[in-house]
């Protein structure tokens, strides 16, 4: 038998038909649904008189538009409310399981699905959201799709897909203390570029990756899409199995052992070939802060803001200039001297229990700087929030001057009321620093939860060990 990569195995076990033109019909085990990219898919089903192929494969929740304060008062913005109500109505009409806004299990789809065991190794999982790559952390083939494809999966449980190429990103050796999964993925994107993974499915491997918890692996896979790869993944190991055990949707009883045996094959065979391999040394990676308007525009906390005149490619140079202007930064300035107005700890990249713990550890016994206008902590799901409260993390954060909110996407994309004002500068644990992402004219710097908490305390970016 030929040696296969993890991606090959996931792909091959789900192809049910091959077309002559190189596309395949791929079976989809799980679809996650949220309110923004689904209304037109349900509308399509209705118009064509179609029914969902396999109801139990779907799981829905509202997350992008939900308010993070005063939930009991409902959603104030009528347009946001219409989207959430439409999701509720569609799920009721078609019989799809939904964790509604007032359900403790509600949260960002990419946080709640793993938490529920709805994300399992060896499966294919899709969602109308590009950060679906998150679930690849479980040795799952997971990728974002558009609304037409959401409708296609609802109606057929399949997708017509073309196989991507295989890329391996190896992070060898051990990370220095204080360097997190977020720093690693930003450093990777900085190295390969935001289109470096286009056309590839990325497997993350190497000692540093293996040492990450599932939360860390999710942060990593989450941002594979920011490197251009639709899917990012990590092989199944004991850490994976341990995490998945005893969750509501996980296999139970006899099926558990059968599942563990089945899952244990979801890793790359020793002799398998990749189309491209990128190798990095873990010990070279330092805590990262992005300085521009693309996730690849990243530097370490010890660096100065890069100078466009040192870039030889004229189109890139222009891009750097535009980014500096938008960000209100000058080349040569030390990033750790840049003051911050707002801090946002949350999003599907960094809103899990470990992220909240990391932020609380930095904030413990300290105070948010007076110059900070707002410091938000938005847990990824109702259950993350509950656990954090059981651990007393909410108190630590509130005492330090952070606001403790209800779960949702919140300021990651500012579709609800949480947003930046023009020119406000934000240390954010989210995944996109595009122009206007967190509010029109808002300036986003992507960082890890510890770095964000540190910026809140110091009022500017800072090495955590200097706090």
């Amino acid at each position: 038998m030929t040696a296969k990569t993890l991606y090959d195995k996931l792909w091959d076990s789900h192809v049910l038909r091959q077309n002559n033109d190189g596309t395949s019909l791929l079976y989809i085990d799980r679809q996650l649904i949220h309110e923004v990219t689904s209304p037109q898919a349900f509308e399509g089903l209705r118009i064509a008189g179609r029914k969902p192929w396999k109801l139990s494969a779907n799981l829905a929740t509202p997350d992008h538009n939900v308010p993070t304060t005063d939930r009991d008062k409902g959603i104030a913005d009528p347009i946001s409310k219409l989207q959430v109500d439409t999701l509720d109505d569609n799920c009721t009409e078609f019989g799809i399981t939904e964790f509604k806004m007032d359900d403790i299990r509600q949260g960002i789809v990419h946080v709640l699905s793993p938490e529920q065991g709805a994300t399992l190794p060896g499966m294919t999982l899709v969602c109308g959201d590009s950060h679906t790559s998150t679930h690849g952390a479980f040795g799952t083939l997971a990728f974002g799709i558009g609304t037409s494809e959401v409708e296609h999966v609802l109606a057929t449980q399949c997708l017509i897909q073309k196989k991507s190429k295989n890329m391996l990103v190896l992070v060898n050796g051990q990370l220095n203390p204080g360097v997190t999964a977020k720093d690693v993925i930003l450093a990777i994107i900085g190295k390969i570029g935001t289109a470096g993974g286009t056309g590839y499915a990325i497997e993350f491997g190497g000692e540093a990756i293996r040492s990450f918890s599932m939360e860390g692996r999710m942060t990593l896979s989450n941002m594979a899409i920011e490197a251009g790869a639709r899917a990012g993944m990590v092989a199944v190991d004991d850490t994976t199995i341990e995490y998945v055990k005893d969750r509501p949707y996980s296999p139970k009883g006899e099926q558990w052992q059968q599942a563990v045996n089945y899952w244990s094959d979801f890793h790359t065979d020793t002799d398998a070939q990749f189309d491209k391999t990128v190798t990095m040394g873990a010990s070279d990676i330092k805590p990262q802060v992005t300085w521009g308007t693309s996730p690849g525009m990243t530097i370490s906390i010890d660096d100065t803001i890069p100078d466009p005149t040192e870039e030889s490619d004229s189109i890139k140079q222009e891009g750097m200039r535009a980014a500096l202007e938008y960000m209100g930064l000058t080349a040569g300035k030390r990033i750790n001297e840049v003051p911050v107005d707002v801090v946002f700890i949350g999003s599907c990249t960094n809103s899990r229990i470990e992220d909240i713990r990391a932020a609380a550890e930095v904030a413990k016994g300290k105070k948010v700087a007076d110059s900070i206008k707002q410091a938000l902590v938005v847990p990824g799901s109702g259950l993350v929030k509950q656990q954090a409260e059981e651990e007393g993390l909410d108190k630590i954060l509130i005492q330090a001057g952070f606001e403790w909110r209800e779960p949702g996407c919140s300021m990651c994309l500012a579709m609800n009321a949480d947003r930046l004002e023009p020119q406000e500068r934000c240390a954010s644990t989210s995944n996109r620093n595009f122009e206007g992402r967190q509010g029109q004219g808002g300036r986003t710097h992507l960082v890890s939860p510890a770095m964000a908490a540190g910026a809140a305390i110091a009022g500017h970016f800072i090495r955590i060990d200097e706090l």
């Binding site: 049910l16 038909r17 002559n20 033109d21 190189g22 596309t23 019909l25 079976y27 085990d29 799980r30 923004v36 990219t37 209304p39 037109q40 509308e43 179609r50 396999k54 139990s56 538009n65 347009i79 946001s80 219409l82 989207q83 439409t86 399992l120 959201d129 590009s130 679906t132 974002g144 799709i145 558009g146 609304t147 037409s148 494809e149 409708e151 296609h152 057929t156 399949c158 017509i160 289109a195 286009t198 056309g199 251009g228 639709r230 996980s250 296999p251 099926q255 059968q258 599942a259 089945y262 189109i315 890139k316 891009g319 994309l413 579709m415 996109r432 595009f434 122009e435 206007g436 029109q440």
Partner: protein, 215 residues
């Protein structure tokens, strides 16, 4: 879906790298539960001088005269010329919906983000990938001559210029057969897949033994 065979139209050059879907259709417009009506807000932040919100009367907003789509010479453009990594960012299909609603049927670039590229075909838009040098050549040609039109012929997989561009352009492009076929015929992919219902059921029956926990 509308069939695509051949169009001849004005081409608008958008000379920016990494145009993301947030720029193509800003997130405040994603709250609609419909598929149509996104065209007036295509590239909203670049196209208008004020901040756009859903429900505004777009015809009364101040447009940004410097933005290329607003230049009179490109009025009525149906072909968009773009740079590397066009359509990066979120998976929102609102991006091709907005382009389509505006009237764009073809996008030419050196590279596209994967999800966006897929979404185009599902909405009757043809994304064409060409070598960077060829795209450069098109930028120069289009910018040099006001009113110049390009013809995109999907049957022949060719881009052709009219005589007004001086030196005549004829460029071939690649596209996989299935996608070409679906665009040419305006086919509904779901109906095509449902022709294989038996294969899907057979696969599920087999998987019920291998991964019973998923059923």
């Amino acid at each position: 879906m509308e069939k695509f065979t051949k169009i001849t139209a004005i081409t608008v050059p958008l000379d920016r790298l990494n145009v993301d879907t947030d720029a193509i259709i800003p997130k405040q417009f994603l709250k609609s539960i419909k598929r149509s009506g996104f065209g007036p807000n295509l590239f909203d932040e670049w196209r208008y001088l004020d901040h756009g919100e859903p429900g505004m009367d777009n015809s009364r907003r101040a447009v940004n005269p410097d933005f290329v789509l607003n230049k009179p010479r490109y009025a009525g453009a149906q072909i968009l010329l773009a740079r590397d990594n066009f359509g990066c960012g979120s998976s929102r299909e609102h991006a091709p919906w907005a382009l389509e609603d505006f009237g764009i049927r073809v996008i030419i670039a050196p590279s596209f983000a994967d999800i966006f590229y897929n979404n185009c075909f599902k909405n009757g838009i043809l994304p064409i990938i060409l070598a960077e040098s060829t795209v450069d050549q098109l930028f120069q040609a289009v910018e040099a001559k006001e009113g110049a039109q390009l013809t995109v012929d999907l049957q022949q997989k060719k881009i052709l210029s009219d005589d007004s561009l001086g030196e005549k352009i004829e460029i071939s492009f690649e596209l996989d057969q299935f996608r070409r076929h679906c665009l040419l015929e305006g086919l509904d992919e779901i109906a095509l897949t449902l022709e294989h219902s038996d294969d899907i059921s057979a696969y599920e029956n087999k998987q019920k033994e291998i991964t019973p926990w998923l059923f």
